[in-house]
């Protein structure tokens, strides 16, 4: 009998909730059409700002900058051998590059160890990072210019080299949520 008594108010509250949700919009996630920020990448912070004019090194010592990747959506990941969460996520970033890397998208994984290539290359080799090119920033100029404060930090730039968002902390970058997020930027980057 109490159930019956409660049934009507409960139904009322439910209907009201549905109406409120419809009016206000579903909480979380969707700020732009179709962009979902959830699961592995739930801490991804969307925010536009110009990409810095900074340089880092290739494994062979060549200079490289964001401009070299113009036309592609670029995911810059900073890692170091001393950073356990970086080491943890690096294999997933390697798989991400294998899955999504190409004409429209590339991962740029930059190692910031002071020891440079001598430290980073064998380490990457042990982790079987074979789909990613080795990039180095032993003096920290690029990481500083990109405003990196914690490790790992991953910054996404659009085809024009404009920052569209960043994630501080680790993630499984080949998870469906991460792939969906990056595909959204690929499809919505003019």
């Amino acid at each position: 009998m109490t159930i019956k008594k409660l049934a009507l108010p409960a139904a009322g509250i439910l209907v009201a909730a549905v109406v409120v949700v419809l009016l206000v919009g579903l909480p979380g996630g969707d700020d732009a059409a179709g962009l979902k920020i959830e699961g592995q990448v739930q801490n991804f912070a969307v925010g536009d700002r110009p990409g810095p004019d900074t340089e880092w090194r290739t494994g062979d010592g060549g200079k490289v900058s964001l401009a070299d990747f113009s036309g592609k959506v670029v995911m810059v990941n900073f890692w170091a051998t001393w950073c356990a969460p970086c080491i943890r996520e690096l294999p997933s970033i390697n798989r991400l590059q294998a899955t999504l890397g190409g004409e429209d998208f590339t991962v740029v994984a930059i190692n910031i160890d002071t020891g440079g290539k001598a430290v980073a290359a064998p380490f990457a080799k042990r982790l079987e990072i074979d789909d990613l090119d080795l990039y180095l920033d032993p003096r920290g100029s690029a990481s500083r210019a990109m405003g990196v404060n914690v490790m790992p930090t991953t910054v996404v730039y659009d085809r024009q080299g404009q920052e569209v968002g960043r994630l501080e902390g680790g993630a499984e970058w080949d998870s469906p949520e991460a792939l969906a997020l990056l595909r959204w930027f690929i499809n919505n980057s003019g």
Binding site: Q42, N43, A45, T58, G59, D60, A80, T81, W82, C83, A84, P85, C86, I87, R88, I112, T114, K117, A118, A121, P122, F123, A124, K125, R126, E128, I129, D130, D131, L132, D133, L134, D137, P138, R139, G140, S141, S143, R144, V148, N149, V150, M151, P152, E168, G169, G170
Partner: protein, 721 residues
């Protein structure tokens, strides 16, 4: 996580080391101009987003020796690293630039804890720690100015490097002498947690051994404690290229002895010519609860003390099964067949004799295994290198076996009327009219067991290796299980004699079966001769073969001789048999080069392997022996054909063959280093597997190819050239 990272976003950490140094310089300089009050005997707290830190002093003034401390108060869940951070992280370092009147500050390290960050082993501190700093006042009558740029990393789900500047002054003590500060107890509490070097606290590391097991390496640490261990752990510091997993431990001797095993991996492939773990110095911090000691010692080659891989019960079951399978192995089959023939002759027999006969055979088998166990345990206690099938390395043993087999064959062929080994049971040279006498059956059980040994490797290698690595109790238990396994069919017939009486009745066909079995025995004798030829010399083998032919011939003509000459024939057979024992004297092992066309094989030089691997070669080691049937099977079916052969012959591969046909201490030790005591044994070394990947006893081409690929590795980092 979310709140954590949004808080962190407000931080102003200098990330790159260059920037860290820069900011340290700037901030340090600003603090220099306004040092903290000296009376505090501490610098002000420097707060960072995951905690705070300061410098403290055990004295309010400076009087010669200084005892300082770097005090961290760390936010929950965050870690600051030990002097060896483990597989990721970096330790605190202090740059004392700008300090005055300060000599030789040395950072010291209290006992850390083991933390797993994302399954990565790290060592460090949480919540609170004081790193003691021993230093000296350079000039006695002057104040000390402490200026520290403290560089450290703190990690939780993310890592944040920091450089903090701390400063304060200590006035000269003058004639008053040192005045203890409020921080002295705190610093001393943590100083007491610094693991003393080389023992103390009732803890000792007895030895550190490198054990090759399951295709990888284990570091095995044997430690003792005055009071029982609770949960011992060992933190290993050695050449950078090695990474040590968290160890498993096993306690014995009422918990006062611990064996810890940690698997070893190489952290970097840059230096394949880099250090080898065996023989390198390791600093071990042995930790048990609140107690810890530090010892530096060189690793030695060891044997897996607790094969933590299979529980004892599983090993016993394996031994039981292995014993059962032995019945159908080629070495034993003739003996078993003869036994079955005996059953057939019992075709219409009564149950009693059948039961007794089979029980006796089973007892013989079990007895023989126990004798073997006793011998092995004895040898082992005596420190001898023990290997399974080792008796086949003794030429005299082979002569005995050859003579026995030949007589056995002649008997089966019907040349004479001793049912072998009746000489064991029915009196010397006498004729046992009851071949199924208890003693005869017992002897045939013993005989079958001895013949079984060389066939046992593929099924029993694990169990026997395990037994030999353990104490006498394990050896006897496992050999008992082996014996019971092999005796199982006999026991079955003994339990249900009905089975035996169901067999067909004796008849002419039995004579045919007997001759076939006689041929099988001749085959076994020829195999023994080939072992003998390889081991001693071809001439010796021919001599032995000739003796046997004459024995058979004498036995053949004996019934045709006049009755009074027959005893002479018997004497001749005995003489010939005894004379055969001279065979080993004929020519000593000169047959090593009998390898024939197998030019790809190089002699076994374990010491040369690291260099070859460093040069980018893949090294294949085959430990083999003429008496090892499984080895011959591997050779014929895998190593000398198809892709394996191509692999072995390729220029980048060095094939080494270790011949264990004759006893060899070096090879025995080499096997032991992998926890093996029997052969066949094959290992592949390569740039990715400098410590070697061992192959299963029975080789398959697929496995050989895969292991080669695994050991050789492949190009991993695209632009790393």
């Amino acid at each position: 996580m979310k709140t954590e990272s949004s808080i962190l976003r407000w931080g102003r950490w200098a990330l790159s080391p260059a920037l860290r140094t820069l900011s340290a310089g700037v901030v340090g300089a600003s603090i220099l101009s306004s040092p903290a009050s000296a009376q505090d005997a501490a610098s002000p707290w420097v707060t960072y987003d995951q905690g705070r830190a300061r410098l403290v002093s055990a004295t309010q003034n400076a009087a010669g020796d200084l005892l300082l401390g770097l005090q961290y108060q760390i936010a929950p869940g965050w870690e600051v690293y030990w002097r060896s951070p483990g597989d990721a992280g970096f330790p605190t370092t202090i740059d004392w630039t700008g300090s005055e009147n300060l000599d030789e500050p040395i950072l010291q390290w209290p006992r850390p804890h083991r933390f797993q960050i994302f399954e990565i082993e790290t060592f460090g501190y949480q919540d609170e720690v004081v790193l003691p700093i021993a230093a000296r006042q350079a000039r006695q009558d002057e104040a000390v100015a402490l200026r520290a740029a403290v560089n450290f990393l703190t990690c939780r789900e993310i890592c944040v490097p920091h450089t903090l500047s701390m400063a304060f002054d200590l006035p000269a003590a003058g004639t008053d002498g040192p005045v203890i500060s409020e921080f002295a107890p705190l610093i001393n509490t943590y100083r007491a947690q610094i693991p003393p070097r080389d023992g103390g606290r009732g803890l000792t590391v007895e030895r550190a051994e490198v054990v090759n097991a399951n295709g990888g390496q284990l570091l095995q640490v044997v430690a003792r404690s005055d009071v029982p261990f609770s949960a011992p752990d060992v933190y290993v510091e050695g050449p950078d290229v090695f990474s040590f997993a968290a160890p498993t431990f096993r306690l014995s001797e009422n918990g006062r002895r611990a064996v810890l095993q940690a698997s070893v991996s190489r952290t970097a492939l840059a230096g394949n010519d880099g250090p080898v773990l065996l023989g390198s110095d390791l600093t071990l911090t042995l930790v048990d609860g609140e107690r810890a000691v530090e010892q530096t010692l060189a690793t030695t080659l060891g044997q897996a003390e607790s094969a933590a891989f299979l529980p004892f019960a599983a090993i016993l079951a394996l031994a039981l099964l292995g014993g059962l399978i032995l019945n159908v192995m080629p070495c034993v089959l003739p003996v078993l067949s003869i036994k079955l023939l005996g059953v057939v002759s019992h075709g219409g027999g009564e149950r009693g004799p059948v039961r007794r006969s089979f029980l006796a055979s089973a007892a013989g088998i079990v007895f023989a295994f126990l004798v073997l166990a006793g011998a092995l345990a004895g040898f082992r206690a005596g420190g001898a290198a023990v290997g399974w099938g080792i008796q086949f390395q003794q030429p005299l043993f082979i002569v005995v076996m050859t003579v026995l087999i030949t007589l056995f064959a002649a008997n089966m062929w019907g040349l004479f009327e001793i049912r072998l080994p009746a000489w064991l049971g029915g009196g010397v040279g006498g004729v046992s009219n009851n071949p199924h006498s208890a003693s005869g059956s017992f002897a045939s059980g013993v005989f079958a067991t001895i013949l079984a040994t060389p066939c046992s490797a593929p099924f029993l290698g694990t169990a026997i290796g395990f037994a030999l690595a353990r104490g006498p109790v394990e050896i006897f238990s496992i050999f008992l299980a082996l014996g019971l396994g092999m005796a199982a069919p006999f026991l079955l017939v003994a339990a249900i004699p009905h089975l035996a009486t169901k067999l067909p009745r004796p008849g002419r066909w039995m004579l045919v079966v007997k001759k076939v079995l006689a041929l099988a025995l001749v085959g076994t004798a020829v195999w023994l001769l080939s072992v003998f030829a390889f081991q001693v010399s071809l001439e010796a083998a021919y001599f032995l073969a000739a003796m046997m032919v004459v024995v058979v011939a004498v036995l053949f003509v004996r019934p045709r001789l006049p009755a009074r000459v027959r005893p002479v024939a018997v004497a001749a057979v005995v003489l010939l048999a005894v004379g055969s024992f001279a065979a080993p004297q004929l020519g000593q092992a000169v047959s090593q080069e009998a390898a024939g066309d197998e030019s790809i094989w190089q002699p076994f030089e374990p010491d040369a392997i690291p260099q070859l691997v460093a040069d980018g070669k893949v090294v294949f080691v085959d430990v083999t022996a003429e008496w090892c049937i499984t080895c011959q099977v591997n050779k014929k079916l895998v190593l000398t054909r198809g892709a394996s052969r191509t692999l072995l012959a390729s220029p980048n591969v060095v094939a080494m063959r270790a011949d264990w046909t004759s006893p060899d201490e070096g090879i025995a030790r080499y096997l032991a280093s992998f926890g093996r005591f029997g052969i066949p044994f094959n290992v592949v070394y390569g740039p990715v597997a400098p410590n070697g990947l061992s192959l299963p006893e029975l080789l398959k081409e697929r496995v050989v190819i895969d292991t080669f690929r695994q050991a050789a590795g492949s190009d991993l980092l695209a632009n790393d050239s």
